[in-house]
């Protein structure tokens, strides 16, 4: 379990990360979202013990993530946003080097290397020079490198940047698989939809502040002040709209056609049920009454509004 408590990083007067709190259970995949300069990399580096927090702590299974504690690093797999591969080094040699650095026993190394290469679909490139791989393969090699020591927590800083759609899909698959293996995974990105399908939780960071954290749907709900409900009737559309506006929690009707419209609703689920019942009791011929899916892109733009200037 990862517990982050009021983690803060200050560069002189500038606070890059301000008192971030959250906790993750094994198997949870956190989508860590924020625009450029929001503080994602800074937070991840502090969790990777590479950067010293100004205040606050982070505990992994009760043990502080301290820069001078080398043992704790065996539990962390860190993939930075930018990285380079050595010249004149082969794929398996690269993995062998890190397996050695992580203290994997000599006899286990060949097996471990084969395993992570298989997991990342790079088996056929084992003898190739790391530099000769395509961008997507290099990304996967870097991920393979994070896995040689079977860490309990993975910190992936924008792993999908620079990948084509197919490679992205494969990467998502792989990350989902890691979650199912029971690892804590943090994946950062500045694109929310990219993370939404496989993240179990999201954290939205802006100007160093964690604006929201929780299950994807909860966050969406908490951040969307009014949800949109779409109604479709056989007839009496205008009348139904007037009826609704006489009720509580309802505002802003928007007609799609004479018998179909959507409106903003701020009530609870119980209120929503009562509202539907009232409409049916009043005899309106309703054929559809549904929540509209929140558009993640819009949501992100809305949350981070103004944070960029």
């Amino acid at each position: 379990m990862l517990e982050v408590k009021s983690l803060t990083k200050r560069y002189g007067q500038f606070e890059a990360v301000t008192s971030v709190d959250f906790a993750l259970e094994p198997g949870e995949i956190m989508g860590f979202i924020g625009s450029n300069g929001a503080g994602k990399t800074t937070t991840i580096k502090m969790l990777a013990t590479l950067l010293e927090p100004t205040h606050g702590t982070a505990l992994l299974n009760g043990r502080p993530l301290d820069g001078n504690d080398l043992e704790i690093r065996k539990q962390i797999g860190y993939m930075p946003d930018f990285f380079g591969l050595y010249e004149d080094i082969k794929v398996w040699e690269y993995l062998d080097m890190f397996a050695t650095l992580y203290g994997v026993e000599v006899n286990d190394r060949p097996r471990v290397i084969d395993e992570v290469l298989e997991l990342t679909d790079l088996g056929f490139k084992k003898q190739a020079f790391a530099r000769s791989l395509s961008r997507g393969m290099q990304q996967r090699l870097c991920l393979a490198r994070c896995l040689v020591h079977n860490p309990t927590m993975l910190l992936l800083d924008e792993p999908a940047s620079g990948l084509d759609p197919r490679a992205r899909a494969e990467l998502k698959e792989l990350i989902g698989e890691l979650g199912r293996m029971g690892k804590i995974v943090i994946v950062s990105s500045h694109i929310l939809p990219e993370l939404a399908d496989f993240s179990t939780v999201v954290g939205i960071i802006e100007r160093g502040q964690m604006l929201a954290f929780g299950k994807v749907n909860d966050v969406v709900r908490s951040l969307t002040p009014a949800k949109k409900i779409q109604v479709k009737l056989l007839d009496r559309g205008a009348e139904a709209s007037m009826f609704l506006h006489s009720k509580e929690h309802v505002s802003g009707t928007q007609f799609l056609n004479p018998n179909e419209f959507r409106f903003d609703f701020t009530g609870t689920l119980e209120d929503q049920h009562a509202l539907l019942k009232a409409m049916i009791d009043a005899g309106f011929p309703i054929i559809e009454f549904m929540d509209e899916e929140a558009d993640l892109e819009d949501l992100f733009m809305q949350v981070t509004k103004g944070a960029l200037n």
Binding site: Y11, H55, G67, R73, F83, M97, T100, L101
Partner: protein
């Protein structure tokens, strides 16, 4: 203990960082090619010279002999120069390439210790250097077969070449980590070599001169560490130092010193790479003390071996002898003195003085550590001078007091300058500039001496110049020390005021960042 041993074996055998470097070295043979070309040119030049040597000296065997010696020394000199150039390149590229690729983050997110990484890198570079030296052996061997040198000389010479290479390589490591650039590392190493070499050469040359003068040519020994000054080796080969009654060859002392210097430099690199309160920083501080003790020993043995005749300028000379060896310490102090307000706790001036940090390494420990370094050197020197009855009892305290006051001034300036800088690098540069500026400006007075403007005024400029370790009366000495202490006090007072303001502004009063680890 068992765990420690296992860790050591892991570091020196099958070190992943080394193996990676070896693989790269094996696959990219550029260095070897360049070296081969250089050696070929060397051979051609040597052959051409050899021809002219033989033809011009053919009429007398003894002049042929000395010409051959010159030939050998020229070859060795060229090798030496090349090693001094190649070693920093090897050291710098091993580190800087990791920064360029940004792969260093990957290494340091792994549980490999800083020591593991640095030793791995260092040994790989050292191996490459040894290989290059080995390849040059045929050329020097020619010198032996032709009679320009003996095998023993060649072996000892190579030992020294290797030691020089090892030191230069190690000098490059911390500089590379701090600058993260090839060009700046190499120029940094060159600067250190010039400064260090110059200081060591002046020190050893003057001590040799004193000895030769004093002993009227009857000497067979040279101060033990003179061989570590690269370009002096041709003259220092084959000497030994008496320990009790046993003559111990100087290369043994040089070897020990080399190990200590390399260790301290690598620890410096390690300390630069680690966070506040790391083992590396603590170890660096402890080994720094050991190295300074070694330095004290070498000065002690030099001072001891000089027959001190009663001199007219006795106290002035004693003042110089006690305090001049502090110059390298003063340079270290300029680095200790600096801190940065936006840095990690490691470089954040947390407090004026904290004895726990003397070995812990935060800025609050600088005052204590700096004073200890100075006291060690200055008092050793003073006590040694006293033991050869060159100075009086009171002077044992008075002469080192100047060094201590000067050190306090450097630290004070650092304390005053640092709160104005976010990064520690900025404060360091300013401290160096400020101290050097003060010293150099104040020495302008010295120049007037030669021009002979006004004897009284110019002498006063020299005698009363507090930055100059020369005082031929105790009253003058007390005056100088007082001036230095006033500067130090003012700097500390205003610096501390500035620091507190800065600290409140940046980090708030209620939660000053305390060491949690």
């Amino acid at each position: 203990m068992h765990g420690w041993l296992k860790e050591q074996v892991r570091i020196y055998r099958g070190n992943a960082a080394s193996i990676k470097e070896y693989r790269i070295q094996l696959r990219s043979t550029k260095t070897i090619w360049y070296w081969g070309i250089y050696l070929s040119i060397l051979v051609i030049v040597a052959m051409a010279n050899y021809g002219s040597i033989v033809s011009s000296a053919s009429n007398s065997p003894s002049s042929l002999q000395s010409s051959l010696q010159t030939y050998y020394q020229i070859v060795v000199g060229f090798l030496q120069g090349m090693i001094l150039l190649i070693a920093p390149m090897l050291g710098a590229s091993a580190i800087v390439s990791e920064y360029d690729l940004r792969s260093i983050e990957l290494v340091f997110s792994s549980p490999a210790s800083t020591k593991y990484f640095l030793v791995g890198k260092y040994l790989a570079a050292l191996r490459q250097l040894a290989l290059l030296l080995f390849l040059s052996l045929p050329i020097t061997a020619v010198g032996v077969t032709l009679g320009g040198a003996t095998w023993q000389q060649v072996i000892e010479q190579y030992l020294y070449l290797m030691m020089h290479g090892a030191i230069v390589l190690a000098v490059a490591m911390p500089i590379a980590i701090n600058t993260q650039s090839m060009v700046r590392t190499i120029s940094g190493v060159v600067a250190v070599l010039i400064l260090g070499g110059f200081f060591a050469a002046v020190a050893s040359a003057s001590s040799m001169a004193m000895m030769f003068g004093g002993m009227a040519g009857s000497t067979t020994s040279i101060p033990p560490l003179v061989g570590l000054v690269p370009f002096l080796t041709p003259f220092t080969l084959g000497y030994s130092t008496l320990v009790g009654l046993v003559p111990v060859p100087n290369w043994i002392f040089a070897g020990i010193a080399t190990l200590a210097i390399v260790k301290v430099l690598l620890l410096g690199a390690g300390s630069a790479l680690t966070k506040v309160g790391s083992r590396e920083t603590r170890s660096l501080r402890v080994h720094g003390l050991i190295l300074v003790a070694l330095y004290c020993f070498s000065i002690y043995s030099t001072i001891k071996s000089i027959p001190w005749p009663p001199a007219s300028q006795r106290q002035g000379i004693a003042m110089m002898v006690v305090n001049m060896p502090l110059i390298p310490i003063f340079f270290i102090l300029m680095f200790l003195a600096a801190s940065g307000r936006a840095e990690d706790r490691k470089f954040l001036a947390d407090k004026l003085f904290n004895w726990k940090e003397i070995l812990g390494g935060r800025p609050s420990g600088s005052l204590g550590y700096g004073m200890i370094l100075i006291a060690m050197v200055a008092f050793t020197n003073a006590l040694t001078l006293y033991s050869v009855s060159f100075i009086r009892k009171l002077e044992i305290l008075m002469l080192p007091a100047w060094g201590l006051a000067f050190g306090l001034m450097i630290l004070g300036i650092g304390w005053w300058v640092s709160p104005g800088f976010d990064q520690v690098v900025g404060s360091r540069r300013t401290v160096v500039a400020a101290v050097m500026g003060l010293v150099i400006l104040s020495h302008v007075g010295l120049m007037f001496l030669d021009i002979g403007m006004n004897q009284v005024v110019t002498e006063f400029l020299v005698l009363a110049n507090p930055f100059l370790p020369w005082a031929d009366s105790l009253i003058l000495l007390v005056m100088k020390i007082t001036i230095l202490l006033i500067i130090a006090g003012l700097a500390y007072y205003f610096g501390e005021k500035k620091r507190r303001l800065m600290f409140n502004k940046y980090y708030g009063q209620p939660k000053p960042i305390e060491a949690t680890t």
